[in-house]
């Protein structure tokens, strides 16, 4: 049986926030630390179950490797795709300086 009980610290929350690409501000770190601790505490009830011999279910239907004919179909045009962008230039999406 695996052991998953662990306290959530503010540092954990900061780390998860950075993985999630969210910059937390003000009392958000404190609040989320408490929330995640409560919710994960509840989730720990799964510890009671021995699932070593159980296969995981990531999808309920027996559908695998769906193919279709390799035909050209109408699709979004470049102008349509970039029309919603906050910033676009010459048919490209513009982002802040990367390097």
């Amino acid at each position: 049986m695996t052991k998953i009980a662990k306290n959530i610290t503010k540092e954990d929350v900061q780390y998860i926030a950075s993985l999630s690409r969210v910059h937390l501000q003000g009392d958000e770190v404190e609040r989320l630390t408490k929330d995640l601790e409560n919710i994960l505490g509840y989730v720990h009830k799964l510890e009671k179950l021995d699932v070593r011999a159980v296969e995981p279910t990531s999808h309920v239907l027996p559908i695998h490797s769906v193919y279709r004919e390799d035909e050209v179909r109408p699709s979004l045009q470049q102008a349509q795709a970039t029309a919603l962008a906050v910033e676009a230039h010459n048919g490209f999406f513009k982002v802040p300086k990367v390097i």
Partner: protein, 479 residues
């Protein structure tokens, strides 16, 4: 009774015999919205007659429909009630919208929801909460609370919602209307903005079971734009609308009638069992032994999928973009983080973080993988029961509609209100909620019926029989 209080099938009868015109029907809905939606707030956007109307020439089903704010309609702002998608006007139609347009549907407007469908009360919307038409101090349920309140409040004849853990059925129960979550794969998810891709399904919210069968018939079917859509023929669901349950065996799971259930809900469901017994159905106590693990499993699986699906909101291709004044990490990363902090509400952040945690290195096996394995056990529970039963009957929610703000500061207690609906999503099976009475306070109570994959006809047959022998589906709220 005003025309907007009628069901779609009643209205279609009136249109056919020229006793009403599609225009009159639409106008009566718009008048209702004008009169009451300021307070109910079912809609976040109301269209003029132009959207969708008349696309089919001579429309066979010109019924005013309300659409949840997470289903893409070409050119119509679609935001999942999130700041991060403000201004997003999809350049394409969801498959269900394409099918509705073909049927001649009239699109009334876009309905309120919990941000990205994260919630059970429609309080987590960037546009503010929706109020329950039966008692405006209470929530309509969620996340499709706007759609359920629109139908219950006569502000739409029928509506589409989406259901990831009960988001169609629970608001239907709270608002005294019918809500159906189809079998996973029955309805195309193409154009439904993803929350948890292995659980999400679009489904109807209607005034009675007949309308649910009609609307499912319009939106169901295989779609090669959705690789998880099932290539299973769509039957004529109206043929299942028979007042007869003789020969059907219905299971009552003992784990569903324990602590936490409101005695009035328990009583209403017991009375519904008696009605169906008298109609000839056979009942048997059954066991779904892993029920107590369903919520924990769901909040691992659903948040993991959500954290991955919501990674696409990066301020680049659409929606909001924010740049902090000072550089913290790098201009690009700072933009991502600032955009997502400003764009997502509290519950969205909570779920993204939970999902990221259970998928992160060192925790994946103990959380996400474990969740997937327990999901197998929960699904097997249903497989076992359906070997001997045609359907399962339960309450839809443990309580009636709660007060606005009552659970807002306690996410876990909000999650626990989904206890009866979550397992159908984890197992992929279809489930319907039908009104089965009122509490002493006058609040609607919902009865949930579940069946095997692709056995929506069984749900309609039982639901229809129940309706024919009870008055609840005819109760209309007076506004």
């Amino acid at each position: 009774m005003n025309i907007n209080q009628l069901t779609a099938h009643e209205i279609l009868g009136l249109i056919e015999t020229k006793k009403a015109s599609p225009r009159e029907v639409h106008d009566s809905v718009l008048r209702q919205i004008q009169a009451t939606d300021k307070e109910v707030h079912a809609y976040v956007r109301v269209h003029d007659a132009a959207v969708g109307a008349g696309e089919a020439g001579a429309p066979p089903v010109p019924i005013p429909v309300a659409i949840k704010d997470n289903i893409c309609v070409t050119g119509v702002e679609t935001t999942c009630c999130s700041r991060i998608l403000k201004g997003f006007k999809p350049p394409y139609d969801a498959t269900v919208i394409r099918k509705l347009k073909k049927s001649g549907a009239v699109f009334v407007g876009t309905t309120n929801m919990d941000e990205f469908a994260f919630g059970s009360s429609t309080e987590n919307s960037c546009y503010g909460p929706t109020r329950n038409p039966w008692d405006r101090s209470r929530v309509p349920g969620g996340s499709s609370g706007g759609s359920a309140a629109a139908v219950a409040g006569h502000e739409a004849i029928w509506a589409l919602g989406s259901d990831t853990g009960g988001s169609i059925r629970q608001p239907a129960a709270f608002c005294g209307v019918v809500g159906l979550k189809p079998t996973y794969g029955r309805v195309s998810r193409y154009g439904l903005i993803a929350f948890a891709s292995s659980l999400d399904q679009i489904g109807p919210i209607t005034k009675d079971v007949t309308d649910a069968a009609l609307l499912l018939g319009i939106i169901a079917g295989y779609d090669d734009y959705d690789s998880t859509s099932a290539d299973v023929p769509v039957p004529d669901y109206t043929k299942a609308l028979v007042n007869d349950v003789k020969g059907l065996k219905i299971g009552i799971p003992k784990e569903y009638f324990v602590e936490g259930i409101d005695p009035q809900v328990k009583q209403a469901v017991a009375a519904a069992i008696d009605v169906l017994k008298k109609c000839g159905a056979a009942f048997e106590e059954v066991s779904l032994p892993h029920t107590e693990y369903a919520i924990a499993t769901y909040y691992i699986v659903a948040t993991a999928e959500a954290s991955s699906n919501l990674a696409r909101y990066d301020g680049v291709r659409y929606g909001l973009r924010r740049q902090p004044k000072e550089e913290r990490k790098s201009p690009l990363i700072d933009m991502y983080e600032e955009t997502r902090d400003a764009g997502f509400g509290n519950e969205a952040k909570r779920r993204i973080m939970l999902g990221t945690y259970s998928l992160s290195s060192g925790y994946y096996d103990d959380y996400y993988l474990k969740g997937l394995k327990v999901r197998t056990l929960i699904k097997q529970d249903f497989d076992n029961v359906f070997r001997k039963c045609d359907a399962i009957l339960t309450p839809t929610a443990p309580t009636t509609a709660f007060k606005i703000g009552e659970k807002a500061d306690d996410p876990l207690s909000m999650y626990l209100s989904d206890v009866y609906t979550i397992s159908a999503n984890l197992s992929g099976i279809p489930a319907i909620s039908v009104p089965c009475g009122f509490s002493q306070e006058g609040l609607p109570i919902g009865l949930q019926i579940l069946a095997k994959p692709f056995a929506e006809e069984t749900l309609f047959r039982i639901g229809y029989t129940y309706e024919q022998n009870t008055p609840w589906h005819k109760k209309r709220v007076s506004l």
